[in-house]
């Protein structure tokens, strides 16, 4: 749906984006990750045509990105804001008319969404009278009202309480099911694991990792397991199978973390242990996105 090709963006004395390329597949939720100041916002501003790249290009549905695509993109910036003195209904109407909706159509959809999110009574309220979380909800509605094919959310959950964050998350998933593609910029990894199909990791203006979440996680599995057992066992007995990274006493059981040597399977480890101890638990250590993120970023730095 969206191809970013060799984008370079140079500011006065720092390069915000250095030859960044990525593919956002249609109908997926794409996570754009990276520490603060990595260049995420610069990239988003290029996709939303707020700024232009110094070189490289963006292809939207097979065509070079131009102003005709504005109506097909919805953008919720990290720095949120609304006209403080304007009434909510009027404001969302204004924003969606700027995206090309007619007054009648926009009014219909605003009513639908306000009802859906329990905001019916807000129509005549002024923005300054709403709490920050309520303002965010209004802005979310304004972002998706024109039913864009591509929805770009920059830190969408910051400022939401858990209840509202959950409501918004479900709306995102529902819209995604209906076919909208999302780009989702964040550094909160738990929401990435919950929502994203694909990710790209940007650090110091370069893309350092991308792919589907499952593939990346697979890549980072390193044959490590948690095993909890009851009974006494001399761990030197499994030294040939792998390395014990950690040992811990939990009440009357022992918890160990073992990284198996290449070619060894967990079955062999179990076979070695079973005659001597009672196994309570076995888990594969799957790296979280958080671990991968920290690992990758630290390596580069």
């Amino acid at each position: 749906m969206l191809s970013v090709k060799n984008i370079v963006k140079q500011y006065e004395n720092h390069r915000a984006l250095d030859d960044v390329s990525l593919e956002v597949p249609t109908g997926k939720i794409f996570g754009l990750l990276g520490p603060n100041g990595a260049g995420k916002t610069s990239l988003i501003r290029i996709i939303t045509q707020i700024t232009a790249p110094d070189s490289g290009e963006v292809i939207f549905n097979g065509k070079k990105l131009d102003s005709s695509h504005i109506a097909q993109i919805g953008y919720l910036p990290e720095e949120r804001g609304l006209y403080k003195k304007m009434e909510i209904g009027e404001q969302v109407l204004y924003l969606s008319k700027l995206k090309g909706l007619s007054t009648a159509e926009a009014t219909k959809r605003i009513k639908f969404w306000f009802e859906k999110l329990g905001m019916e009574s807000w129509w005549n309220k002024k923005v300054e009278d709403l709490s920050k979380g309520m303002q965010q909800k209004v802005q979310f509605v304004a972002t998706i009202l024109h039913q864009p094919e591509l929805i770009i959310l920059d830190e969408p959950f910051s400022g939401f309480d858990p209840v509202n964050a959950d409501i918004i998350k479900n709306e995102i998933l529902e819209l995604n099911k209906q076919g909208s593609t999302f780009i989702f910029s964040t550094h909160r990894m738990e929401s990435v694991e919950e929502l994203c199909d694909h990710i790209a990791l940007i650090n110091r203006s370069k893309k350092i990792l991308d792919g589907s979440v499952d593939d990346i996680k697979d890549m980072y599995r390193n044959n490590t397991y948690w095993i909890q057992y009851e009974g006494n066992y001399d761990l030197s007995g499994i030294a040939l199978l792998g390395t014990v990274l950690q040992t811990e006493q939990v009440k009357n059981t022992t918890l160990i973390k073992v990284q198996l040597q290449e070619g060894q399977s967990v079955n062999e480890l179990l076979a070695a242990l079973l005659p001597y101890v009672a196994i309570h638990r076995l888990d594969e250590v799957i790296p979280t996105m958080n671990d991968i993120f920290i690992d990758k970023v630290k390596n580069v730095n």
Binding site: P77, E79, Y83, K84, K85, L98
Partner: protein, 438 residues
């Protein structure tokens, strides 16, 4: 284009619907009308204020002429002695005692004003000038002139100023009326450009600080947003101005009727007809003159030129204000950038009201009214005195070129500035933005 219209609509409606706009629009004409009414009221009733009763004790043998009472002073000649009058002052109801001792007419000394209250400078000044007149008349009569001859000595001169127009025809004109119109339109022009220019700046800062800007420019081009705001606010200004004219005119008509009443209204009209009585001539002289020459001024031309220069000057300056607004994070930071933008406007204002009104055809007046930085004010000040058409056309043309220039410049600064948060901006940096590619 459709998007610019939407933006103009929002900028216009959100301001016109504000309470402060409605209050200002309604209140200002009311205040102007009340001022106008008060001025007319006093010009009819006279600002004479209190009536002062003065007892005159004349011990001068040579001074046979007597002081005549005027609307403000009542002179009564008493034959009592000064000491007796002093003692009875409280009972007799006089405000002051004027004591004229036996002086020589060539050397009047020892005149006294006595009273329970201290006589003010104005009061003693008026009385002394009346005594001076009295002595002059006495001397003239002593040299053998009759009362009729003395009356004839006084003659009022009313200079009729005519301007020879380009066709060679004489036109009634009056420097007085032209100056009033020049001042009024100069001041209004200055006020409007400043007031609405600053509104543009505030609007830009508001969008920046409330962070709506990023949502906006992912939907519209920065240039569209800037122009939409500038045009929307210009329409607010025009609406307010037209309402002020209409409301002021109607309220002051009513106010004159209420405050002045029918009788005095007749009096005004008879005074305007320049009645023969001396009192009437004195009052009607300047007012009648101004009204005569007001009629000779080409108002439709002045008003339409005013609208042109208001729009032109406003566009010229508001684009600069928009650029300033985009470069800062809050209004307190605008100071350093405001100065260079305010200076030419202030200079134009100050010079227009001093140099141009005293020498409306001079070199300075010419250049001020041609250069776009000062022309909106200077040209309005010059206009009532008469400006050759080619100069007016040149000035208008340069103003159009000027505002296209400032709008272009401002849009280049604006598109970069609006996305810069939290940084203190310097002039050097703004110059760099200028050459940024997008």
């Amino acid at each position: 284009m459709n998007k610019i219209l939407l933006i103009i609509q929002r900028e216009y409606l959100s301001r016109v619907k504000k309470k402060s706009f409605i209050v200002m629009t309604l209140l200002t004409p009311l205040i102007i009308a009340i001022f106008y009414g008060i001025i007319i009221y006093f010009s009819v009733k006279g600002v004479n204020g209190t009536f002062t009763k003065v007892a005159v004790i004349n011990e001068n043998k040579t001074l046979t002429e007597q002081l005549k009472s005027t609307p403000t002073f009542g002179y009564t000649y008493e034959n009592k002695s000064l000491a007796q009058m002093k003692a009875d002052l409280g009972k007799t109801g006089y405000d002051y005692i004027l004591y004229l001792p036996d002086f020589k007419l060539d050397n009047p000394t020892g005149v006294q004003i006595l009273g329970t209250k201290q006589a003010g400078l104005t009061l003693s000044g008026r009385i002394s000038s009346q005594i001076e007149n009295l002595i002059r008349n006495q001397k003239l009569k002593d040299s053998g002139l009759t009362q009729a001859d003395v009356d004839k000595l006084k003659s009022d001169v009313d200079i009729s100023v005519k301007k020879i127009g380009e066709t060679g025809k004489e036109e009634d004109s009056s420097a007085g009326a032209a100056t009033i119109i020049a001042y009024v339109s100069g001041v209004i022009m200055f006020m409007f450009i400043l007031l609405y220019g600053i509104q543009v700046m505030r609007g830009v800062i508001e969008e920046k600080t409330s962070r709506i800007i990023e949502v906006m420019i992912s939907s519209v081009k920065p240039f569209q947003l800037m122009m939409g705001k500038i045009i929307g606010i210009a329409l607010v200004g025009l609406t307010q101005f037209i309402l002020w004219i209409v409301l002021t005119a109607s309220i002051s008509t009513v106010a004159v009727k209420v405050l002045v009443g029918k009788e005095e209204a007749k009096q005004i009209s008879s005074m305007q007809a320049a009645g023969p009585g001396k009192q009437a001539v004195q009052a009607a002289g300047p007012i009648g003159d101004i009204q005569k020459s007001l009629a000779s001024l080409n108002f439709p031309k002045i008003i339409s030129v005013f609208f042109f220069f208001f729009i032109g000057g406003y566009l010229f300056y508001s684009a600069l204000y928009a650029a300033i607004g985009s470069a800062v994070d809050s209004e307190t930071e605008t100071q350093q950038f405001m100065m260079p933008v305010m200076m030419p406007l202030l200079l134009g204002y100050a010079l227009s009201l001093s140099v141009v009104t005293t020498d409306p055809y001079g070199n300075i007046a010419f250049w001020l009214s041609i250069i776009p930085f000062t022309s909106p004010i200077a040209m309005m000040v010059r206009l009532p005195y008469g400006v050759p058409d080619w100069q007016l056309a040149l000035s208008m043309l340069l103003l159009i070129v000027g505002f296209i220039g400032t709008v272009w410049m401002a849009s280049r600064i604006y598109r970069v500035g609006i996305l810069m948060y939290g940084k203190k901006t310097s002039f050097k940096e703004i110059l760099k933005w200028f050459s940024y590619r997008n």
